[in-house]
């Protein structure tokens, strides 16, 4: 479980996160949603330690991440997997080398054991046989799947996905969504997904956290979204008249 307690973050006096407290549970796909510039990416970067918080604490299974220096965070980091918006694959490495990278750095596996593990991860994301391709030879969806394979190589307890569907067509986006959900349930990992994609939220979201102007504005599940009176989340999730009509129809079901 990841617990965020009263964290705040400012840039040049401009408060981006304002006293946010939230809990993310294992075996759940936890979404962080919000408009561009609302602070959701900063919140995620603070949780993974790419940014330092100004105040507050972040706990990974009761281990206070904020109190540790960057070297002592290493053991917790090795329990994290992250899928980046742009995949962030190492472009000088093949698919196989990308997935093998964390294993080479941290595991005590032999080369054949690592190759077996890589094959398993690639097979898990339906990329078997693509071992020797470079990222530039992969489509956007395949790059995302490679990113997921690299993220799960070390059996992560905490999985972070930053805009996993950006730039993907709707069908490929659903493939990635389903993969994230399956892996979350399979590994019992605490998964945090930052997304604008409401289709993803409604498809795989277990817990939804809406950030508005640096504040945690609303929490609930996908059914709660249909019935909430919160103006800001309604404006975000159902921005058009067409979407509002769909919501009203669904409410009636």
């Amino acid at each position: 479980m990841i617990q965020v307690k009263n964290i705040s973050k400012s840039f040049n006096g401009n408060k981006v996160l304002n006293d946010i407290s939230v809990e993310f549970f294992p075996g759940n796909v936890n979404f962080i949603i919000g408009r561009s510039g609302s602070g959701k990416s900063v919140l995620t970067k603070c949780i993974v330690g790419l940014m330092e918080v100004d105040q507050g604490d972040i706990f990974f299974d009761n281990r206070n991440f904020t109190l540790l220096d960057r070297w002592d965070r290493k053991s917790i980091r090795q329990e994290m997997g992250m899928l980046f918006q742009g995949s962030a694959l190492f472009d000088s490495m093949t698919t196989e080398e990308n997935v093998m990278f964390p294993l080479k750095m941290f595991s005590s596996m032999s080369l054949s054991e690592m190759k077996d593990r890589v094959d398993w991860c690639l097979q898990r994301v339906n990329l078997e046989g693509k071992n020797k391709l470079y990222p530039s030879e992969l489509s956007g969806g395949m790059q995302k799947r490679t990113g997921i394979a690299r993220a799960i190589a070390m059996n992560p307890k905490y999985l972070f996905c930053d805009e996993p569907n950006s730039g993907l067509d709707p069908q490929t986006a659903i493939v990635i969504d389903n993969l994230i959900r399956e892996i979350t349930y399979e590994f019992k990992s605490t998964t945090i997904v930052v997304s604008h994609d409401m289709n993803s939220v409604m498809e795989i979201g277990d817990k939804i956290n809406f950030i508005y102007e640096g504040n945690l504005w609303w929490q609930g599940n996908k059914m709660d979204i249909l019935h909430t009176d919160n103006q800001e989340i309604n404006d975000f999730v159902f921005p058009s008249t067409f979407m509002k009509e769909i919501r009203d129809n669904l409410k009636g079901i």
Binding site: L50, S75, M80, M82, A88, L89, D91
Partner: protein
């Protein structure tokens, strides 16, 4: 002024991270030879070409400037040797390498930064500074002296070939000039300079790449800054080292 101190502080912090908390030794066994190839062996051609022509030109220019009969012809060999050993092969070759190697390092690391590859390493728990920068520094400090020694031999050899081939000096006079008042310490001085320059080129370029923010435009700017600052620091340290080691 505060910006200069901020850069110095960030550079020192990055170097601290680069040389502390190293990753497993087996990682460097793969990375360092790869960097030796990329930084050193792939620069052999340009260094060889420049050294050959520079040795030949120095020989011809010295010959064309000796009008007085009081100045012996072997001075041509002596001048070529001193020019190649003291300045061209160490300083000028490193300035050229700062353009080739420095811009390459800054753009490679800068691109990794803006495409979040460095963030990916950090999140995994890899010390990205030591993984990316240390092998480049070690490789350059190891291979640059070999490039410089090769440059010395090629430049002096080209001077001998052109000098005797065009008839401006006999081979005997040229060799006499090469041997005249030779001080082996000057070669050591050149190699010490080279090692320092190798560190400057790789670390300064890596610094500019590592702290790149933005997109492709900023990567280009980092690359330019890496070369400019490397050249400035090489020239300053060239003066300081000459003052310390030769006088």
């Amino acid at each position: 002024m505060s910006a200069i101190f901020r850069h110095i502080g960030k550079y020192a912090q990055l170097m601290g991270n680069t040389f502390s908390k190293l990753e497993r030794a087996r990682v460097y066994k793969v990375l360092i030879p790869r960097e030796v190839d990329k930084i050193g062996l792939q620069s052999l051609g340009i260094v060889a070409l420049l050294s050959l022509f520079m040795g030949a030109v120095v020989t011809l220019q010295t010959a064309s400037n000796i009008d007085s009969g009081w100045i012996p012809r072997w001075t041509i060999g002596f001048t070529t040797r001193q020019t190649m050993i003291l300045e061209f092969s160490s300083t000028i070759v490193c300035l050229i390498l700062s353009g080739k190697v420095g811009s390459n390092i800054a753009s490679e690391i800068g691109t990794m930064r803006i495409t979040e590859q460095i963030d990916a390493m950090d999140i995994m728990g890899v010390n990205s500074a030591t993984y990316l920068i240390l092998p480049k520094i070690v490789a350059a400090m190891f291979i640059f002296p070999f490039l410089v020694i090769m440059s010395m031999f090629l430049g002096i050899g080209a001077g001998a070939a052109i000098g005797s081939g065009t008839g401006v000096i006999s081979l005997t006079d040229y060799i006499y000039g090469l041997q005249y008042s030779f001080e082996p310490w000057q070669v050591s001085y050149a190699l010490i300079k080279t090692v320092v320059f190798a560190f400057i080129i790789t670390s300064v370029s890596a610094y500019h790449g590592y702290y790149t923010r933005g997109g492709a435009l900023e990567v280009g700017q980092s690359s330019t800054r890496a070369v400019v600052y490397s050249i400035i620091l090489i020239m300053i340290s060239n003066y300081v080292l000459t003052q310390l080691l030769l006088l």
